[in-house]
């Protein structure tokens, strides 16, 4: 198991991810520059948050053209693990590795706050340890986080259990009031059909330290190690 974090011009959550991945794995984390085509033996690829290429054209639209993304697509097609957080989720949707798109928030504003996530499928490599609470407090920080896909795609995601996280209230209830950005059906995070590619708008890597007074995000990463050990 080897973790790698991709860095695009404009990525700004790469160090948060590297920090938490080093902490949970106890090993070094490979930094993969967007111009790289060699994934350097990484088994787990993370696409971090930020504003790759200044969000020009659409969030993630230019990043998907980076040389490294061809290698990431091949890695994913071979069943390799890929996880995109925030801008990383946008990039994976733009790349076609995940269905749907992230649109401008319903209320136009950039939203930076803690939200609660209900885990809808605990049978995946990132969510297998999210079983002890009705919901997990994780921050969001985005302007384009309104998940959208057509009805047929949403139905397929529901039927397959590909919707992993929904925005909820502090009791784990999913309702309109707990939807911060207007996402379809409160969707905050999804997986692909093969459950090896994940995307989520909230930032578990920003909630994985006692210093930050929130460690709810740690389990998203330690779950990966458990899976490996099992």
């Amino acid at each position: 198991m080897k973790f790698g974090v991709i860095i695009f011009p404009g990525s700004n959550c790469d160090n948060d991810l590297i920090n938490v991945l080093q902490k949970v794995s106890g090993g070094t984390v490979e930094q993969l520059w967007h111009k790289d085509t060699d994934l350097k033996g990484c088994t787990h690829i993370f696409v971090p948050g930020g504003f790759s290429y200044g969000d020009y054209l659409r969030s993630g639209a230019i990043a998907k053209l980076s040389p490294v993304m061809d290698s990431v697509s091949t890695h994913a097609a071979n069943g390799g693990f890929v996880m995109g957080i925030c801008n990383g989720f946008q990039i994976l949707c733009e790349s076609g590795l995940l269905p749907g798109a992230l649109l401008r928030n319903e209320k136009q504003k950039f939203i930076c706050k803690n939200v609660h996530l209900k885990c809808e499928n605990t049978n995946t490599s990132i969510s297998s340890k999210l079983t002890d609470k009705p919901c997990y407090q994780i921050p969001i920080a985005h302007a384009e986080g309104r998940y959208y896909a057509d009805e047929a795609t949403i139905a397929t995601l529901n039927a397959n259990g590909q919707i992993i996280f929904r925005y909820a209230d502090e009791n784990g209830m999913v309702n309109a009031d707990s939807n911060p950005n207007g996402s379809t059906d409160n969707i905050a995070g999804i997986a692909n059909e093969g459950f090896n590619v994940f995307g989520m708008m909230p930032h578990p890597e920003r909630a994985a330290s006692d210093v930050l007074r929130n460690t709810d995000g740690l389990a998203f990463f330690t779950a990966l190690l458990e899976k490996e050990l099992a």
């Binding site: 054209l57 053209l65 798109a101 401008r104 319903e106 136009q108 959208y148 057509d150």
Partner: protein, 84 residues
């Protein structure tokens, strides 16, 4: 030949366009109540070297499909003009 290709991109009709909604409210606020809907898209202008207008259009269509337009959320109209 050189062509100027205009790509007009709009969000899908059924999709909420919060920018358009905010601008619509602004126009109504200054008394322009005749405006009953606003939707905001973008225009991208390409200068293309091609043997014909059809070829220029094909290049623009490929650009749209691969980069300029996300079909999940947008549609595009393309118009081609020959440059003198």
């Amino acid at each position: 030949m050189n062509y100027e290709v205009s790509v007009n991109i709009m969000p899908h009709k059924g999709l909420l366009d919060p920018q358009g909604k905010a601008v619509h409210q602004g126009l109504n606020k200054i008394g322009l109540n005749q405006v009953h809907d606003v939707r905001i898209g973008k225009k991208i202008v390409l200068h293309v070297e091609a043997a014909s207008a059809d070829e220029a259009r094909n290049i623009a269509e490929e650009s749209c499909k691969k980069v300029l337009v996300n079909a999940v959320m947008e549609t595009a109209d393309i118009s081609v003009a020959e440059l003198a």
